[in-house]
């Protein structure tokens, strides 16, 4: 079964074969008493006593001011670093290091893409060892290119593309690795407003179709509310969770109506007040 069948083109079907699914209600990620301190133990912790679950299939936004340890938190989830204390479990097992099951979309797409490979080549990178057949691989790459609207750029190099397109390539490459969870570190932070909104909507559509668990980090309150099923607010010094909200806005969301929804505005007011206090 190709990736296109499995994850991308069949919104109705389960995104992952039943055997791979976790029991209903089980958290995808569970974080318990996680603290991170850089350097000497006497230093102030970057993250302190973080405890929460990421639910299977949800879109979780994490918002916070700069320096609150958002990125550190995401790197912990990815297994790119280990917490100073506390535990992180993915699928009931401790996170011991990076894994193909947890894709990470970096903010700095220029550094994360391979400049010597074309768009198609960059996406194929995720598949090369796992899909040995050239034809099958090409088909999957083509499906992802179509999915992300990169058809015209397929044979171009990343440096020839706009920021938004490059970020699409990175997302496509992450999708190609067929992750169980998508970790996104301020992926649209460097993009202009219009590109950003388009990508937000494309991401929501993708998340709905694949029902993939997504953790989305941002410093933009509205983006957090607009995208998320839930929003965690991190406070700084030390980084800790100061608020959790269930967004509860109807889906699919719409850049105009959702953002004018009284509930959206109420969330925004509430979160804005919280962030001001920090």
């Amino acid at each position: 079964m190709s990736l296109a069948d499995r994850q991308i083109s069949t919104p109705a079907g389960p995104p992952i074969p039943a055997g791979d699914r976790m029991p209903a209600g089980a958290p995808a990620l569970s974080i318990r008493d996680v603290s991170v301190t850089f350097g000497a133990a006497t230093n102030r912790p970057v993250l302190k006593d973080i405890t929460f679950d990421v639910r299977e299939g949800e879109f979780l936004s994490i918002v916070g001011p700069s320096g609150c340890g958002k990125t550190t938190l995401l790197r912990l989830f990815a297994g790119l670093m280990a917490p100073t204390s506390g535990s992180i479990q993915f699928d009931g097992k401790p996170v011991a290091g990076p894994s193909r099951q947890r894709a990470i979309v970096f903010q700095d797409y220029t550094n994360a893409l391979l400049p010597w490979r074309t768009v198609a080549g960059n996406i194929a990178l995720s598949l090369e060892r796992h899909v040995p057949s050239r034809a099958a691989r090409d088909a999957q790459v083509a499906a992802l290119i179509a999915k992300m609207g990169l058809e015209r750029a397929a044979q171009q190099f990343p440096t020839q593309l706009s920021g938004g397109m490059q970020q699409r390539v990175q997302i496509a490459r992450c999708l190609a690795q067929q992750p169980r969870i998508m970790l996104m570190d301020e992926p649209f932070g460097a993009l202009d407003a219009i590109t950003r909104q388009t990508l937000q909507d494309d991401l929501l559509k993708l998340a709905a179709e694949t029902r993939m668990t997504t953790v989305f980090i941002t410093h933009d309150l509205e983006e957090a509310i607009y995208l998320g099923d839930r929003v965690y607010v991190l406070g700084a010094n030390p980084g800790r969770i100061i608020e959790t909200i269930e967004v509860g806005l109807p889906k699919p969301r719409n850049q105009l109506t959702t953002r004018e929804d009284p509930k959206f505005l109420a969330h925004r007011h509430h979160l804005f007040g919280l962030m001001q206090g920090h």
Binding site: P98, A103, F106, N111, W116, E128
Partner: protein
């Protein structure tokens, strides 16, 4: 074109002065020939094929040595660049080895291989390994962290990581080391030929000098300059995957 002629003016005047100063006996040294005689000697050597054969022998040894040096240098450099503990442990040893002038290995290489291609290539390989090793280690250490994290998340094993991420990302800077090594290769090959190995352009130079053929000697030196120039130009065209359209990575 105008700039070319302007640039050629000074050497032109110099050559003319040299030609007539030696011909008319203002300058008389055994070590000196004059431009027209040098050109004639070069032309003769070219026609009888002797300089071409010598060139082939020198280039053969230089390139063979360079290839060996490049393979050893790139791999060792990549390992040193990837693993800091290895670099800390092996670093001092390599620094000590690097401090030995490559030429000092000539007697050893001669004992091991005898006269011929092998001993010359071995000395060249030794000499060229270092600039490539140092450049590669630095280039690998400088590979964008993000790319390594991408490799981590994709659970790449060592080989895949090396060939798909590390070496392509480091290629531009490794190439600088290769270009330096190419110059070194030619210098060392000719040196070995002049000192011990009876083949190639270095040996031809020695023969010309011993038979007091200053004209031939200068012709050969000019020929060497041309080879060096051509090899460098050749290397410049091999600029690799990073010169993909749209510009290279900084």
């Amino acid at each position: 074109m105008r700039r070319f002629w302007r640039g050629a003016l000074l050497p032109g005047v110099f050559l003319l002065l040299w030609e007539f100063a030696t011909r008319w006996g203002w300058l008389q040294y055994e070590s000196l020939s004059w431009p027209s005689a040098i050109a004639r000697a070069g032309w003769t050597a070219l026609l009888d094929g002797s300089i071409l054969l010598a060139t082939w022998q020198t280039c053969q040894a230089a390139l063979l040595g360079l290839v060996i040096g490049a393979v050893v240098g790139v791999f060792t450099g990549a390992i040193l660049g990837l693993w800091t503990p290895v670099a800390r442990t092996a670093g001092p040893t390599f620094d000590a080895l690097r401090a030995i002038p490559s030429i000092a290995w000539m007697p050893v290489a001669l004992l091991v291989y005898g006269w011929g291609l092998s001993m010359e290539a071995a000395v060249v390989a030794y000499a060229t390994t270092w600039p490539i090793l140092v450049a590669t280690a630095a280039a690998v250490r400088g590979v964008e962290t993000r790319l390594l994290e991408v490799a981590d998340v994709l659970e790449m094993r060592f080989r895949e990581r090396l060939f798909k991420i590390v070496l392509p990302a480091a290629f531009g800077r490794i190439n600088v080391g290769l270009r330096i090594a190419l110059g070194v290769a030619l210098v060392v090959a000719v040196t070995v030929e002049i000192a011990v190995n009876p083949r190639g352009l270095g040996y031809a130079l020695v023969l010309a000098q011993q038979s007091l053929r200053a004209d031939l000697m200068y012709a050969q030196i000019l020929w060497l300059a041309m080879i060096g120039f051509l090899l460098n130009a050749l290397m410049r065209t091999v600029d690799g995957p990073q010169s993909a359209p749209g510009g290279r990575r900084a």
